[in-house]
């Protein structure tokens, strides 16, 4: 599958492969470099006290992996059906993290030059997560930056502790 080739081949000029998917009615994409796998591990165990942005955790072949809820992050409602839902496992900076998306769409191979810089007026998605934007025939696809997504999850846990 994909390898870690930090400074070779894909980046500067040339092609990039994007995995596109839907969260609510937003169409998003991410560099395939950062995608470790797409699976149907939807049976998430909730984690008491965790940030709302975190769905919970799953057992990924013996490793306990955190799964994000992009609907909370991007503040949209869920769409799609339980059949279409997928767990997108991202890999960035040595970490693995899952993202529960409503539907996975196509894998697009495009030229880097086709990507537009992130516009200042994209309201639906927080600016820090946006790497760039791609204008496809079907509409705008917002390309996410995996690193900032992973880092942006607020790490202070909600303390839902009752004083008994």
């Amino acid at each position: 599958m994909s390898h870690d080739h930090p400074n070779h081949e894909h980046n500067q000029e040339g092609q990039v492969q994007l995995v596109t998917f839907k969260v609510g009615d937003i169409v998003l994409g991410i560099d395939i470099e950062h995608v470790q796998e797409i699976n149907r591990l939807l049976d998430v165990t909730r984690v008491p006290g965790a940030s709302r942005m975190i769905h919970g955790v799953v057992n990924l072949r013996g490793e306990v992996v955190t799964v994000l809820d992009p609907h909370t992050i991007f503040d949209v409602r869920s769409s799609g059906t339980s059949d279409s839902r997928r767990n997108l496992v991202l890999r960035a900076g040595g970490e693995r993290i899952g993202v529960m998306v409503d539907q996975v769409a196509d894998i697009l191979t495009i030229q880097r030059s086709e990507l537009s810089p992130r516009p200042s007026n994209v309201r639906s998605v927080d600016r820090r997560f946006i790497d760039s934007v791609y204008l496809s025939d079907a509409g705008v696809i917002i390309i996410l930056c995996a690193d900032s997504l992973i880092n942006a999850i607020d790490q202070s846990p909600e303390l839902a502790l009752a004083g008994a």
Binding site: P48, V57, N59, P157, L161
Partner: protein, 899 residues
């Protein structure tokens, strides 16, 4: 074999050689002129090997340094150079440098080691001796089996950094180090060579150190091979049986049994490979202590014991940092300079003993020093200064507890700490780090004699025996080390007392706070928890202990006891206080592991020695006089017990229940020709049931000019009891506190509060306080219980309160700021200076003369009242009579303040 493989092998071997060099050089230093040829030879050969290989591989810098070091060692071996602190220091530096170069092997040739080489050359020339040698540190490394164990126990790692990364690799061993016959962990002959993954890593672009590795004994490997074989056999059997059309259940059972056994053994054996001697961490300390002693101008003798004690690799790694801090602390703050020591009659050289041993399934580490010890009083003051404790709590705390405050957050003076004692890491961080790996730490100290720090560590981190509990269908694991016992409350929940908001479990004479797991986790109750008798909800109690805190956790069901493998939670979830990690259960689902101390702190079970240690109201002779009170003990049913201070009782009558009339929601008693208003406890305080015997007792009392009676269905006793137990958690309307008397939990009634609620119309509405400033009251009361009670009701009333424990303190407070206080409320019977005498003094004092004084007493007898009035007391009040006291304060203040 390509270059990178060669390099990797060189690095492994060089590390090996160098891992012991430091210890050996220190020994050489200690021997001084008494040169141990074999020892020197050992070091010589090690450096020689490194030099040779480095030269062969074109690692010129390493070669340069090693070459010079080898020459120096040669001269020592020839007795031409006598080891002394200075030249050993240089040798140590050279060894350090070599280690450093080896860690960054790819760039080693680019480094500049000219300065070091110059120093080494100077030594070789022997004429160039520096004019001043650094102060001679005397560090002796004495440990009974060091020499043997260090040699025979080489894990491939000496320095902590190398202990990272978790692979078990097996090396081709080239032993240039003497092998002692009884060491199980060593390899004699070349075994399987490094598997490819090691090299794949070293092929990285940056200077990433090659993967760490561990040495595994051949015997252990053989065992693993055997077990693997048995596993295969079991599997084959299983497949065979399952392929039959109707598998024989009996067969399956026996196969399952065999499988179970093999798996357990396999697990244990693999865990063994991860066990490392604690010496790996210990043996970097001689150097640390030596350097430290030298820079501090102290003489410190470090002794190591138990270096062979083994524990899991992860623990060995995790303990290194905290241990370093603690050892440095002992040297820095513990051991005194020689002059001070000698003046105190101690030997000039201080001793630090670092000792590891097994005890009760745990690994214990002790750091013992014979230094200055800790001054509990100084620490007490510091704690109060830093706001960690109130002055009162501090004065009541035992010395032993005070000394352990050094681990309290907010207490640490680490910010001021010198560079010597560690990188600004405080003692609270040390404790946190130790607790994170499932350990605990405490300190014991004797001023002038020294201190002992004791660390308790689990044998292994990764696999934890646990109980699996559930709330509805969600499962959680609770590590067995925290579990004291399981308690089942039969459906009627008789052993649980509910008092207002708080719930407590009554267990063999003590009260344990109850914590509902459901609430802690924020799960909605599907079932009304009050519905006692519902089996599926909240009837299982797990009594949990974490450090010194104890509580009972309520869960739906207790499932199994299982040994679980701890899986760390990802970065975003790692810091949740309630969780200690996660695990994967048999069915593949993830379950959270609960963290007992996290739960405890979440429910604010403060680690406050005062709070939850509710003790039996025991032998009155034990209690300080002030806290013994005569109590009336009564019950409403066989499970609801109450107490009242006798002194507020006028009399007690026994009447037939039929004499009680009920008018609307109020009760009355036909009494002495009139009617007595009655109050039933259950009207105000929650009870589990009310019994209606034929005859009841009525406790008659006076309040606010009204006479009233409290209905006590059963009167148990009237006697002296201790009142120094206050558990605030029991407080509520009408209840002042909760305690245990005769093995039963008993609520102490606040009779006046109770009356206020039952008959609010009796109580005058408070006149508007027409003061120009908030009145400041001084309270003198030696009983902690009453003092707190008074402070509470007065502050609730809106007054500002300063409190003192006795008359003497009160006098000081008054005279220091004469205009500050508007009124004095004082107990009469107090130790140092009693209330009467205090009042006398006040009346004689120029500025305090007109201070209103209200005296409190439990003895409503005329004699003392007379004395008091003579002394100048303005009013006498009974301690627990809240409304009357408040009224008196109010009117006395009015007199003074609204003039």
């Amino acid at each position: 074999m390509d270059d990178s493989e060669l390099l990797a092998e060189f690095v492994e071997e060089a590390r090996d050689h160098l891992s012991n060099v430091e210890m050996q050089l220190l020994e050489i230093e200690v021997h001084g002129a008494n040169i141990n040829d074999d020892l020197v030879n050992t070091v010589f050969r090690a450096i020689h090997s490194v030099k040779g290989a480095a030269g062969f591989l074109g690692l010129t810098q390493i070669n340069n340094v090693a070459h010079r070091l080898e020459n120096i060692l040669g001269r020592v071996r020839d007795h031409q150079l006598i080891p002394d602190p200075y030249n050993v220091d240089v040798m140590l530096k050279a060894a350090d440098r070599l280690s450093k170069l080896i860690e960054d092997i790819d760039h080693s040739n680019e480094t500049d080691n000219a300065a070091l080489c110059e120093k080494l050359d100077e030594l070789l020339d022997a004429d160039a001796r520096p004019a001043t040698a650094p102060s001679k540190p005397s560090t002796r490394v004495s440990s009974p089996s060091t020499a043997e164990t260090v040699d025979s126990r080489d894990a491939a790692t000496g320095a902590r950094d190398m202990l990272k990364a978790a692979d078990v690799g097996v090396l081709a061993a080239q032993d240039s180090v003497p092998i002692s016959p009884d060491a199980p962990v060593k390899t004699q002959k070349p075994v399987v060579s490094t598997p490819p993954n090691a090299t794949a890593e070293t092929k990285s672009h940056h200077t990433s150190s090659p993967e760490a590795s561990i040495r595994v004994g051949v015997r252990v490997l053989d065992r693993l091979m055997n077990l693997a074989g048995e596993l295969v056999l079991s599997r084959n059997q299983l497949l065979r049986v399952l392929s039959q059309p109707t598998p024989d259940r009996g067969n399956l059972d026996s196969i399952a049994g065999g499988l179970d056994q093999v798996t357990t053994e396999l697990q244990e054996t693999i865990m063994q490979t991860r066990m490392q001697p604690i010496g790996n961490v210990f043996n970097k300390f001689p150097r640390v202590v030596r350097d430290l002693a030298s820079s501090l101008g102290k003489q410190i003798d470090l002794q190591l014991e138990g270096v062979e004690v083994e524990t899991d690799k992860t623990i060995v790694e995790a303990i290194a940092d905290p241990l370093t801090h603690l050892v440095r602390n002992s040297c820095d703050h513990g051991i005194e300079v020689p002059a001070v020591r000698e003046a105190a009659g101690k030997p000039a050289a201080g001793t630090v003993l670092l000792r590891a041993f097994h005890q009760a399934g745990k690994v214990m580490i002790e750091i013992r020093d014979d230094g200055a010890g800790m001054d509990a009083d100084v620490l007490r003051n510091k704690a109060v200064e830093k706001g960690v404790l109130t002055a009162e709590a501090a004065s009541q705390m035992s010395d032993r507890d005070v000394v352990n405050l050094i681990f309290a957050p907010g207490f640490s003076t680490a910010k001021e700490v010198t560079a010597v004692s560690g990188r600004g890491v405080g003692m609270d961080v040390v404790r946190t780090n130790i607790e994170q790996i499932g350990g605990s730490v405490e300190v014991e100290s004797e001023l002038g004699r020294g201190s002992v720090i004791r660390i308790t560590l689990p044998l292994t981190l990764a696999i934890v025996p646990s109980m699996i509990v559930s709330i509805e269908d969600r499962r959680y694991a609770l590590p067995q080390t925290n579990i004291l016992e399981l308690v089942q409350t039969d459906g009627k929940a008789k052993r649980i007392d509910r008092v207002g908001n708080a719930e407590v479990l009554h267990l063999r004479g003590s009260l344990i706070p109850l914590v509902r797991l459901r609430d802690i986790l924020g799960l909605e109750s599907a079932v009304d928890p009050e519905a006692a008798g519902d089996e599926s909800s909240g009837n299982q109690l797990v009594v949990v202990e974490s450090g010194r805190l104890r509580f009972a956790l309520v869960v739906d069901r207790v499932l199994d006891s299982e040994e679980i493998v701890v899986k760390p939670l990802g970065r975003h979830l790692a810091n949740l206080p309630l969780l200690a990690g996660s695990t994967i259960l048999g069915d593949g689902r993830v379950a959270m592991i609960l963290d007992a101390s996290g739960i405890a702190s979440g429910v604010q079970l403060a680690n406050d020695p005062e709070s939850m240690r509710t003790e039996e109201a025991g032998d009155p002779d034990d209690a300080p006089l002030s806290d013994i009170n005569r109590l009336v003990l009564m019950s409403v049913s066989s499970s609801d017990h109450f107490a009242l201070p006798m002194d507020i009782v006028s009399r007690i009558e026994r009447v037939p229940a039929t004499n009680i009339d009920v008018l609307g929601d109020q009760k009355f008693l036909k009494y002495r020709g009139g009617t007595l208003p009655l109050i039933a406890i259950e009207d105000v305080v929650r009870v589990s049931e009310v019994e209606q015997p034929e005859h009841v007792h009525v406790v008659v009392y006076k309040v606010y000019g009204h006479e009233a009676g409290l209905i006590a269905p059963y009167l148990n006793d009237i006697r002296d009891c201790q009142l120094n137990m206050t558990s605030d958690r029991g407080r509520g309307p009408g209840v002042a506190a909760i305690t245990v008397i005769d093995g039963k939990s008993t609520r102490l009634l606040d009779l006046y509060g109770l009356t206020e609620i039952a008959r609010p119309d009796w109580f005058e509405s408070k006149a508007d306080l027409a003061y120009d400033h908030e009145p400041q009251l001084l309270v003198c009361e030696d009983s902690a219980f009453f003092r707190n009670f008074l402070i509470r009701i007065l502050e609730e009333e809106g007054y500002r309160v300063t409190s003192c424990e006795d008359g003497e303190e009160g006098w000081i407070a008054l005279t220091q700021s004469p205009g500050k206080f508007d009124l004095l409320v004082t107990d009469v019977e107090m130790p140092e200076l009693d209330g009467i005498e205090l009042t006398r003094r006040i009346r004689k004092h120029e500025q305090l003369r007109d201070l209103p004084v209200i005296a409190l007493t439990s003895l409503a007898d005329d004699e003392s009242t007379k004395r008091g009035i003579e002394a100048g007391v303005d009013d006498y009040q009974i301690k627990m009579n809240k409304p009357d006291l408040l009224a008196s304060i109010h009117s006395n203040l009015q007199k003074v303040l609204t003039q």
